[in-house]
């Protein structure tokens, strides 16, 4: 079940989505009428099912048709996976930052690091290891680069 926290910032509406996106989602109802600019924070979306994907595409395509400027920030790994699997999940060039998964070689902990998409391109998707927050060991990128960053390579 998804929850939304909204914050108006001048001409922009910032919405923070929290929870899984599935068949009960009604974006028109939970986000409602938007400002000329919509910033969607997806940090706390752990999961999205196929019916949720369909609802997502339908809603954001309708906003795009109304010339609303869209920005997606702090996209969770679940959202990044959908961006990679479905070419029109998010309009091109609207993803500003994503969470990147890391795994600690020592304690096997899962970690995520927040990266701006522009910075990832500058790094040519070669990410330096992170220091594990649990054991101080070395955590490295934990996915297949050609797949996880494929939307940025299109």
């Amino acid at each position: 079940m998804i929850n939304v926290v909204k914050e108006q910032k001048g001409n922009s509406l910032l919405v923070r989505l929290t929870g899984s996106i599935e068949e009960s989602v009604n974006f028109e109802q939970i986000i409602g009428l938007t400002s000329p600019e919509l910033i969607v924070n997806c940090r706390d979306v752990p999961r999205i099912n196929s019916v949720g994907v369909k609802a997502w595409i339908k809603y954001f395509q309708s906003l795009q048709a109304k010339n609303i400027k869209l920005h997606f920030i702090e996209c969770s790994t679940a959202i990044v996976e959908q961006i990679n699997l479905i070419s029109n999940f998010i309009p091109e060039g609207c993803v500003e930052s994503i969470y990147v998964p890391f795994s600690c070689a020592t304690c096997k902990s899962e970690l995520v690091g927040l990266f701006k998409t522009d910075d990832l391109k500058k790094l040519e998707f070669k990410l330096p290891p992170l220091k594990c927050t649990k054991c101080s060991g070395q955590a490295s990128f934990d996915d297949i680069p050609e797949e996880y960053f494929s939307f940025l390579m299109r």
Partner: protein, 324 residues
Amino acid sequence: MANTDFLLISTLPEDRAFAASAAESAGLTLITATTAKEGATIVAEKEPRVIFLDASSEAQYKEFETAIQETVGLFSDKINANAIHFLTSSNIEKVQYLIESPLFGHFIMRNYHDPVATGLYYGKILKATLSERAFGLNTLLPNAKVQIVKLQKTTQKQDAVEAVKNFFIAAKFQSRMATVIANAVDELLMNAMFDAPVDEAGRPLFNSMVRSTSMALIGRQSIEMHVGYDGHYAAITAVDLFGSLDKVKLLTHITKIYTEEEYKIRTSVAGAGIGLATVFRSGGSFFFVSESGVRTEVTVFFKRTDNFREFKDQFRFLSTQFYF
């Protein structure tokens, strides 16, 4: 004495190691052929119970199809799609010639990693396909503890999905892996609830129904979820009592990808048509078994790995068993 012949048609050493191990695990006797023609002759003479074919290219597959047509005939009772396993190194969407084949039964993607260990595992699946009816999660994953959940209402799905996620987190799967498994379960249950039910003429009953609809799952609409884990592999089965699975539709859905082409929203059906394809691309393997008008079981498998990269890149297969 029952026929135990298992035919491999391949020249690749990794296929031989994989097949030898699978044969041992399934209690079969491996016979190897290096050409399609040689393989077709063995089919005609020995009627092997299982055939593994290197179908890496369309030319290789066509050579086999022609050889079979010229020896026993494509629709002969000496050849049965349920017994044919295509081996390739490509993703399923890249081998349309196999998807369109009248001989399609099983697809194996050749990322064996360790061909012997993977063969031992796949041999159990193979053994299940040789039983009279390959139903039951314990047939596919013999050493797993299996929990059975009966769903009474469609609205219980989300709780079931969350319970599966928490179960696999407790079993030391990374939370991202557990989320992928949970999503797979979500898709299987949704299909069983809304796509499987058909009327006596085979027409879908609920495929245009909004997926958040609350509906009782009683009588023939009963749904079961079976959850198993043997310490290495997680497997979850969704069971329905309609036996309405359509192989052509299934393969069309599972091979459709939208990485280049745009996804177009269809309003005539309430489902999205992308669930199974997403699961397969996330590292899941599938075993579909359906007896027409009686029962369908769809099982998804995931191997537990130390990291997500290996999880996503794990050995994968897609098996179908249809009984009429």
